[in-house]
Symmetry: D3
Subunit: 240 residues, 6 copies
């Protein structure tokens, strides 16, 4: 089977991470997975939310949102509607958990990093691109904190974290679905992994017919390889 | 290892499903997983949401919520706060997807079933209890529709659906976590399965350290057995 | 005249109060007036709202709400609509005032009791059932506070409080209207009384034609007898 | 006992009703009960709310609100807070019910009258002044409709409606409480009556100690006389 | 050209300012520009918003709103809609900036004056009437503060501020547009000026065709003369 | 005087307009005024808002928003706060009016163009950059409509529109203020002009001391020249 954009089943789209895309943020990355384009901005503030004060531990959280015309047809702004939708909430929480899966909050001290992931253009895989870019922005924010003496020189991020979507389309497991593939997928899975190859989050959903263990295993294999590649790309981006 | 409530690692809590708990709902079940108590009410209305009109297909959706004092310490009402939290949104969507995974919307015709899952008392596993109970309430609502001639005699629910939580506590995989176990779990997974043993949804999250494939496999095995038992319990409840 | 459920004009529906229905709440009662079923949960917290700090006085307040399918046809959730309706507001305030009518806030010290009254099934008289049950839950919460040393042994609740609805249906004054009677009532009155037989609140409304003093008097007589019976039932429930 | 403003116990404050205070409203009255000043504006629109369409019946409803500096100390605007408070809701509903108590919705045809009651200055009794003024504005709006041929010449308002507050202060029943008396009242009652002397609404609340039947009776007597006077004042205002 | 109300092109409507219209506000004015009627109430509170604390500077801000039936056809309440519209926001901000343009916040000390401008009747020029009246109310509030020792005797308001609308209707520049003129205007401008004849705010908008520099100049001349007259009227009102 | 970035008083920042920045929008431009970066996306939909139906006229409107970390320190999202701030409302309305100032809505037919202006990075002049870019995006959307036969070949945009900020800093009038200049400006003015040199909107505000006619004139001259340059840059961008 050939995919509409000519990729092989186990091939990522072209991935680009442009660091320092914003002049003011402590860390920022424009991450692109093919035509999907997400701006990740990490903001450092002293102090932690009230419920965490005095713990000596830092806090990392995230907010995800889509620009109204990031999609094929325009969506109404959540600010205008006056409420955040369930999908937005769900993804914001997922990004936050993913980052907290690799950060040592004790080493962070009582500081907060908020990572904003704003989707400028959406072509499938926006949440996985967001997580992948957010890690790089967070790494840069940690670097900024170290330079500014906010934190010491100890290890803050024990491992990297990246994410990729996998899915079964026309019976075939595919890596890194674009929007057209995503809407046709029978099963859709988002996998968040560390650079070391362990799982932080696995979310698989049967869109049409339920899936069996063999399909699940095939998808996890595909995702494992994809996250491995993304971890390398993150390393290169951070080295440059 | 003995669990605080004396259960074995692969043992469900005592599960009860009381059908017809409400006099007016087309289907209703009070489902209990140990001390967790969720009231599931299925409401049938003619017609479907606007975006689905004219499709000939029905719609099933769900709303999940917790009473303010279902928990150890009281939580503020979302109605008073004026907005629904991310967790509530997330679980409502999960319950809806789970039910849509087994329903034949063509057989349902252009009718809507809304299943409300209100947690009266929470002791861990509220979302999995909600899904398990919601299926029974939905089955009763389908029965009601058949009796009232809203739908024909064709198969509407091709299979049953149930859900269970599993997690790793102190290194050991456990089935059906209660609240105390849930807060101590290193990995937490919710698994939604059909009566036939296939997956509708798998959501695993590393709460502390990331998990590896072996742990994931052990948890899926445990969940598979648990959902099998729940499917039997649903069958008995519906037979009575 | 015979009522649809066979009761006499001055007869209460079957009233049940199940104490300790929740495991965690400091006081909780499932109160039933016939098919009307309200879960009352009293939550104790140290401290009082800001405007009352330093007064040495405690605070008792209440929130009333209906589950979406407590009614014949499903109502939308107020949390989803993002705003609380006028009726909900009105009843929450009424329940709070009723409880404050019998509590000695000085004896309570600077502690707050919040009583949540959630209607699980509605068949008329939900606000009066809520008040009647809330008093019992509050009494249990006061007992809990005494056991835990939050308050001393002094009298906190000087009297009991209960409530009942009365109305004129087809020209005849009836006690404790169910839903069908309520919609047909020309005049509808909710009366909140102490165990000692004095009034805390009287709310009478002409639904159709205005009522005269004689009708008002007849309704007050009926309500007085009904509240007297309810006070006895509360006493028994608290004694058991 | 002499009241702070020199009135006798059974004496109304000086009442003024200025009709046509607004140039555009179909009916408008600036009503003053002493220093309490409420602007009542009746707006006529063709058609009725959706749930009433096709019934042949009209609809009358009301909205009550206070200007932020109508009170001694400024209150925040409900529009800025983004939600309407319970008291506002409660009074809006009361005013609407009071007007519906005297209107023949069949004679009104499928037209809607919305009466806005905005408190410009508050010195106690704002809700009763609002009802009293709203009736006059409604009468003028009905006149406007008749002139413009929106309705026929049949009787639309079968009777007048007015309201007054009564309360027990220092053990003495007083008519038409001003703000200072209101805060000191042990019992506070709002009574809505027709010109014919029957009741549309009776709302009595024990602010401090519960009240007994004798007090209730005394208050009702006082209110009956007060409403009788107000009905005369309305008649004069409408005649001028 | 004769204007519909007989005025000359450069003539203000009849302007009235009734000071002390409210009994409780520290300053209050009912300002009328023809049929436009705005109630301005200045409320003094000790302290300043959090972001200004410790600065030694005071704060002046304003809120503008329209009663629902101030207009020809009734508008829905923003409190009921749950959100403030853009126009309301815009004008509130304009009034606040205008007042801050003439106040010496150091002389005010850490006190806040909030000026509420509520439009009771709207016939064009509500925002300019609001600014003109708000200044007088503010002046009275400053007087109140001086009398009560909240501030010293130093100059707090260095100059007066007033505002007027101007516009081009049928090619002719007109001063102080009423509603009918306003809807027909090709260009609409609001000008806020000090008593000394300098500008605090100039807001010109082409409603139909864009305007050129000559038109702009003509409008500014007209506005300058109008604000001069208003400054005199303010002076007289404050002297009385 | 030299400006912090070396510009002359009457010199624009480096302006870039990148057309087609989004793959799906009918028109899109990333506009940069120095470090200020705004993404303008024009979305075409058939039909017009309800109040405009049947008029034969089209509609153009705009929404402006800032990403949370477009600024030096992060701002909270308006979607999370649940309400849109006054400044956002004000600027959205300004952009919409500016575009409507040059469009022939009859030639547009009953179609709507919504232009979203999202500030990715803010360094002063975001609203003027938004207007300048929005015009180019709108022109592209009009081209798209023409190609797709949505509209005929007639002139839709009679002229171009651009905007620039001007202000007095340390007594000197400056063109196109960046953020540091903006916060220091005594007077701040935003001017929206057509390519033909006429005005669509003039908004001048005294931030500190009021300004006189001479300053106003100097600022208008400066803005006229700046908008002239911007009109040329728009022409070049649209020609490429």
């Amino acid at each position: 089977m050939t995919r509409s954009d000519g990729r092989k089943a186990d091939q990522l789209r072209s991935v680009r991470m442009t660091r320092g895309w914003l002049d003011n943020a402590e860390g920022s990355v424009l991450v692109e997975f093919g035509r999907t384009r997400v701006l990740c901005a990490a903001s450092v503030t002293e102090g932690v939310p009230r419920w965490r004060k005095g713990s000596g531990l830092g806090w990392v959280t995230a907010e995800y949102a889509m620009l109204p015309r990031s999609t094929n047809t325009r969506s109404d702004r959540e600010s205008v509607k006056g409420r955040i939708g369930g999908r937005t909430h769900e993804i914001s929480r997922l990004v936050g958990r993913s980052l907290r899966g690799v950060i040592d909050t004790a080493a962070l001290g009582e500081n907060t990093v908020m990572v904003d992931c704003d989707v400028l253009q959406a072509d499938g895989g926006t949440r996985t691109a967001a997580i992948t870019g957010a890690y790089v922005a967070l790494q840069d924010a940690v670097g900024w904190m170290r330079e500014h003496g906010t934190i010491g020189s100890g290890e803050v991020l024990g491992d990297s974290v990246s994410a990729v979507s996998v899915g079964v389309v026309d019976g075939e497991p595919l890596l890194d679905l674009n929007y057209d593939e995503d809407v046709r997928a029978e099963t859709d899975m988002n996998v968040v992994m560390t650079g070391g190859g362990t799982f932080i989050e696995v979310q698989g959903t049967a869109e049409g017919v339920p899936f069996d263990r063999a399909e699940l295993d095939a998808l996890l294999d595909l995702a494992g390889a994809g996250c491995g590649e993304l971890a390398e790309l993150q390393k290169s981006a951070l080295a440059s």
